[in-house]
Chain length 335, copies 2
DNA sequence: CTGAAAGCGCTTACAG
DNA sequence: CTGAAAGCGCTTACAG
């Protein structure tokens, strides 16, 4: 990694300014010159130094994505979308995992600031004021993905959780269910502040099915274990339950496991609806009926918004809400 | 992002050299000076520019990981390990997805070269000569993870696939199985060139169980669908099969799904052993008995090797082989 | 304990 | 069509 533009210039018998012009496809040299330069670059295996270049034009061609310890599968999809959009324009993407820790988040932010990344996707964690203030003081473009933000002025890419929950619950009711439990796994709070629970509640009300807060169980995370434990509780408390709506696919898989352990057949005796439509949703037996969140597209969109802004193609302030759909597979039947 | 070391120096009433010393914790300034500088940094919200710094000392504090379109879960674990090791030393990690495409791989390599990353983890794809040549001409430290390399001189982190397959197959034989099928999903080739198949074969021979090449099915990928399709073929061809060893957990889940569709009960009528020990292995019904590959640790180790080399703590040439273990869960019973 | 100056590898007016 | 020179924001001998 030792040869630089000077050596290329010497070898080609031109000035470094000319080499630079050729590399960047600018105007102002003869065809012969171009050929000489190109050959020298080839011969020396020269790669322009992005650091030097970045220092000049204050651009790094780099995006960062920040996320907590989320489900691998969830993260994976979003990351793919971000990477795809970035790669299309020859941007690199730096990944930062925070484990939900404040300290780690700030440390990452500090590092990204020093590295002068061109944009940040903040994914599926709560964007507290300290973070957004930090980022905005640095004037780094920011998009929040699928998380909650304390600041409505920050552009955001997400699904309408409330509507999606409404859809899932209504679907179950449409199949004839009235004894429907719900499992949720995010930050604790009053039930009427959790959008997914609100959507569930609304659907029940809309169809005149009584709402029982005890049929909603919230736990720390969205994982398999939480789903399994939650379902066990629900099933013990309400033996006549015929359906459970889980707020993530992993939780839904946990429900299936809990049912299996109790000898309860899915879907004959218990219907299950998940949320996310991750790869596992197709792998369970029976395959999972679930709410599809277009995670790849959302990641792609978030990165595109950043890129559009960086290249001055578009301003960055509007949020975008992606439509959800319900994917019918095999985990729901009539009660 | 407009304030630089000069402004800090002016504000603190010192030279930029002194500011630099304070920032980098070098010697040579009074306590009073230090305080003045620190205050100026605070007040101005100054963040040193890593590009300028990198340009000087030829270091970017950045690692890259390159992988193809692999299973999300597989990738996720490795990535976590790499990220954890990197973050510990304040390194960032750039992710590059190649989709297994040669063009994309070269484009990524080109970008990484220009960005002057300090090291590269090449994960779970075949490192063809063109790639390794490219990287070595650039003198970027390289570690191959869990992939095959055409060049034995390149440091590598992996599991002993052959032994692991031997373990899995022996385990099944130990449980009393003799009719054992195998599913594999990597690059095509003669059976005796695929290490996992060789391990399977060895175990059979070792216990005097006849080997039938028709009981081994290889397909393009390691995914759920390939497992399901492969298992269907196997089950149709050999109705008296009592066990299947799948070369990935996703394939094993596919086996369970295929069995379920045919009304074959797992493990009562068919035992299944997987490979990887991904999160899904715990989520299936029944939970999957599988070979545990310490993917997180492997990712961590690969990054650590790079870091040790970068910091001159250790040379980079030895490969490391991680031990595998078999995790007994519920998908195997006696025939 | 501190500062002036060179230099890392580029790009970009400016002058010709 | 081409080159000399300034400058991006730092670090690091060197001199005091």
């Amino acid at each position: 990694m030792d040869i630089n533009i000077k050596e290329v210039a010497r070898k080609a018998g031109v000035s470094i300014a000319t080499v630079s012009r050729v590399i960047n496809g600018k105007e102002g040299y003869s065809d012969l010159t171009r050929q000489k330069v190109m050959r020298a670059i080839q011969d020396l295996n020269y790669k322009p130094n992005a650091l030097a270049r970045g220092l000049l034009n204050q651009k790094t061609q780099t995006l960062a994505i920040i996320f907590p310890q989320v489900s691998d599968m969830f993260t994976g999809r979003v990351l793919r979308g971000v990477e795809a959009a970035a790669h299309q324009e020859n941007f690199s993407v730096i990944v930062c995992k925070t484990d939900g820790s404040h300290v780690r988040t700030m440390r990452h932010l500090e590092l990204l600031a020093e590295k002068r990344v061109d944009g940040i996707v903040f994914a599926s964690e709560i964007l507290v004021k300290e973070y957004s203030d930090f980022i905005q003081r640095l004037k780094i473009p920011l998009v929040v993905l699928s998380g909650e933000s304390d600041d409505p002025g920050i552009p955001c890419v997400r699904c309408d959780d409330q509507k999606a929950s409404f859809t899932a619950t209504s679907y179950l009711i449409g199949q004839g269910h009235t004894q429907i439990g719900m499992l949720y796994g995010g930050r604790k709070g009053k039930l009427d502040e959790i959008t997914r629970v609100v959507g569930y509640h609304e659907a029940l009300s809309h169809f005149h099915v009584p709402f029982d807060p005890h049929k909603v169980i919230t736990s720390e995370g969205f994982g398999f274990q939480e789903g399994k434990t939650g379902a066990a509780q629900l099933l013990d408390r309400f033996p006549n339950l015929t359906a459970i709506f889980a707020a993530s696919d992993e939780m839904a898989v946990g429900v299936i496991a809990a049912a299996y352990e109790r000898g309860i057949r899915v879907p004959e005796q218990l219907s299950v609806v998940g949320y996310d439509d991750l790869p596992i949703a197709e792998m369970t037996t029976p395959p999972l009926t679930t709410i599809h969140q277009p995670l790849y597209k959302m990641g792609f969109k978030a990165a595109s918004m950043l890129l559009d802004h960086i290249h001055g193609r578009e301003d960055l302030f509007s949020s975008v809400v992606f439509p959800h759909t319900i994917i019918e597979r095999g985990s729901v039947s009539r009660p």
